[in-house]
């Protein structure tokens, strides 16, 4: 915050020249900074509730709350504090780094970089959505504001529940798992259970073959040797993972709706146990 306030932010993007953007106001807390029209939450999923509580001093009766956080259930957390007609949720597909204070780096993919949409469409959400869409676009970041955000969020969550988690427990790059018959079976089981839960919880119809062929496999094949973010959390940085908002959420919703998601449940338990026990794990 100090660097950004003093020098602005050095903004690097792969494939473009570095620029320095200034004009940010920074604060370490939301006390005494006035009421915001839009508050965008970009924490880890398990930090969202705490972040909202911390942000309440800058939220007024017209504030639109936006979650751009991976995983399932973030919209439910927003609605604990805001009415649905003032909630927007979604997530980005851009890889990011913060190599040092005051310096951030983006790895922009081709096409749309952020998908988001209203929990319940209203004049508030549509105005906020249009503002974000226009400013992101002018900043070089194409986004999609859509009323069908639930389908996009679920597809991404199902994808990540398969790829992130299975890669993490097998300790293998995402493509190596797909190349192996047993890894492929785990991926398929996680996806099939996730699709059934998306239907039960939100009435979303996702065709399994279409999902695998046009959503899942293209991502895996472009990053065959990539360790997804949960692997980075679990294997490299020994951090708490986002398992609760991925496989854990799928397993919990499944239980609520009385359907079976046992593979997601066991994967969630395995990862939960591991992230509690990094200090005791075998080290090569």
């Amino acid at each position: 915050m100090d660097h950004v306030a003093r020098d602005g932010m050095l903004f690097s993007r792969e494939g473009a020249d570095d620029i320095r953007v200034s004009g940010f106001r920074t604060a370490l807390s939301a006390e005494n900074i006035g009421k915001m029209d839009i508050v965008v939450f970009v924490t880890k999923a398990y930090q969202l509730r705490g972040a909202i509580i911390g942000a309440m001093p800058c939220c007024g009766e017209n504030t639109v709350a936006v979650s751009l956080i991976n995983g399932l259930g973030n919209e439910d957390v927003l609605q604990e504090f805001f009415p649905p007609e003032r909630c927007i949720y979604g997530s980005g597909t851009i890889a990011t780094m913060l190599p040092e204070p005051g310096h951030c780096k983006g790895f922009p993919p081709k096409g749309t970089m952020i998908n988001y949409g209203p929990v319940k469409p209203s004049a508030y959400t549509d105005a906020a959505g249009k503002f974000l869409h226009d400013k992101f676009a002018a900043g070089g970041c194409p986004t999609l504001y859509t009323y069908d955000i639930a389908t996009l969020v679920w597809k991404k969550a199902i994808h990540n529940s398969a790829v992130n988690t299975v890669s993490a427990v097998t300790r293998l790059p995402q493509g190596c798992v797909e190349d192996n018959e047993f890894g492929r079976k785990l991926y398929r089981q996680v996806i099939a259970e996730g699709i059934a839960v998306a239907k039960a919880k939100c009435g979303i119809d996702i065709d399994p073959d279409e999902f695998i062929n046009s959503f899942f496999l293209p991502v895996i094949s472009t990053g065959h040797d990539y360790f997804p973010s949960m692997c980075q959390d679990m294997l490299m940085n020994k951090r708490r993972t986002e398992i609760d908002s991925l496989n854990g959420a799928i397993a919990e919703y499944a239980q609520q709706f009385g359907i079976a998601a046992p593979t997601n449940a066991v994967l969630a338990q395995l990862v939960s146990c591991m992230q509690d026990s990094y200090d005791k794990q075998y080290k090569d």
């Binding site: 192996n180 089981q189 026990s277 794990q281």
Partner: protein, 320 residues
């Protein structure tokens, strides 16, 4: 009685050492580990029993080629479960029409593999519970635990199997083990398998020792589910075991004693990067679950993770 130990690694050598210490006088080792076979032939087997002493036996014959061993009265297989079929095929030159086959290998399905080659009347199965090591060629170490540490019994009672059971019982006992022979050995095998499904499966995937898993709320749930599914499958196979009672027994009597220990399959997966016995443990439970239409998702997921990993040791983080 002419006894052959087929698969004389750490465990095979220790079991052979006990038989020899108990007076077995015509003992052969068969293993592809040439340096170990040469050392046993040249300098004898150095047999260390922790807390008891060191012994050297110079009259054990050791072979890398089973054909040279001659026809055996009893062939005791102590390979990994996944190696048993090829070990039996390889050992056929020392198998005669009267040879009794003994599997002292952990896991389920070893009896079925032996039945592909031997009549039921000539099959004995069992398993030992004793820590073993082979620190260098020619030297094996036994780490005996108290209580019964060798269980076995005939698949189908016969004069031949009875004779071998008696011989093994007497010589294991005289050698310092605490053996037990069963009319129906299958319940004992099942219990050992269920314990191993829990500790071997979970420790291998989680990279944790036995105790810390039980200490963790999610780890303890995983143990319970693995044991619960396996007990349901055991019941379907005709061996009812109460899941709650057995889980308490495992927590109280097994894991506490091995708190700070990686079970052998976890050692294979984490330390040595070797093929594991997963197919004879969690994989077998999942397979039998499908056969009997019993849900075994936790055992199946563990089996799939272990199988995917052991196919890709060269690519695993951080060494891949």
């Amino acid at each position: 009685m002419k006894i052959g130990i087929i698969g004389a690694g750490a465990t095979g050598s220790v079991f052979g050492g006990y038989l020899r210490r108990g007076g077995a006088d015509d003992l052969s080792f068969v293993d592809i580990y040439k340096a170990h076979m040469d050392a046993v032939n040249n300098d004898g087997l150095l047999f260390t029993v922790i807390g008891e002493g060191e012994y050297r036996y110079t009259d054990i014959k050791a072979y890398t080629d089973p054909a040279q061993a001659g026809i055996l009265d009893a062939a005791i297989f102590i390979t990994k479960a996944n190696q048993l079929r090829s070990a039996v095929k390889n050992a056929l030159p020392c198998i005669g029409p009267d040879t009794v086959a003994v599997s002292l290998i952990n896991g389920l399905g070893n009896d079925e593999v032996l039945e592909e080659f031997f009549p039921r009347e000539h099959i004995i199965i069992g398993s030992g519970v004793i820590g073993t090591e082979l620190p260098e060629p020619g030297h094996c170490i036994a780490k005996p635990v108290s209580g019964v540490n060798m269980n076995f019994g005939a698949l189908k009672k016969s004069e031949a199997s009875e004779r071998v059971c008696c011989y093994l019982y007497e010589h294991f006992k005289a050698g310092g083990m605490n053996p037990m022979v069963y009319e129906d050995v299958m319940p004992v095998i099942w219990k050992k398998v269920i314990v191993n499904c829990a500790v071997c499966g979970c420790c291998s995937v989680l990279g944790l020792k036995e105790g810390p898993i039980e200490d963790n709320i999610y780890g303890a749930q995983l143990y319970r589910k693995v044991i619960g599914e396996a007990c349901a499958v055991a019941a379907a196979c005709g061996y009812p075991i109460d899941a709650d009672d057995f889980t308490e027994h495992v927590f109280k009597n097994v894991i506490k004693g091995n708190y700070d220990y990686y079970p052998s399959m976890a050692q294979d997966m984490l330390i040595y990067k070797r093929p594991t016995e997963i197919d004879a443990l969690n994989g077998k439970i999942a397979e039998l679950g499908r056969r009997f239409d019993i849900a075994t998702p936790v055992n199946e997921a563990i089996a799939l993770i272990v199988k995917c990993r052991q196919d890709n040791y060269d690519k695993i983080y951080p060494n891949g």
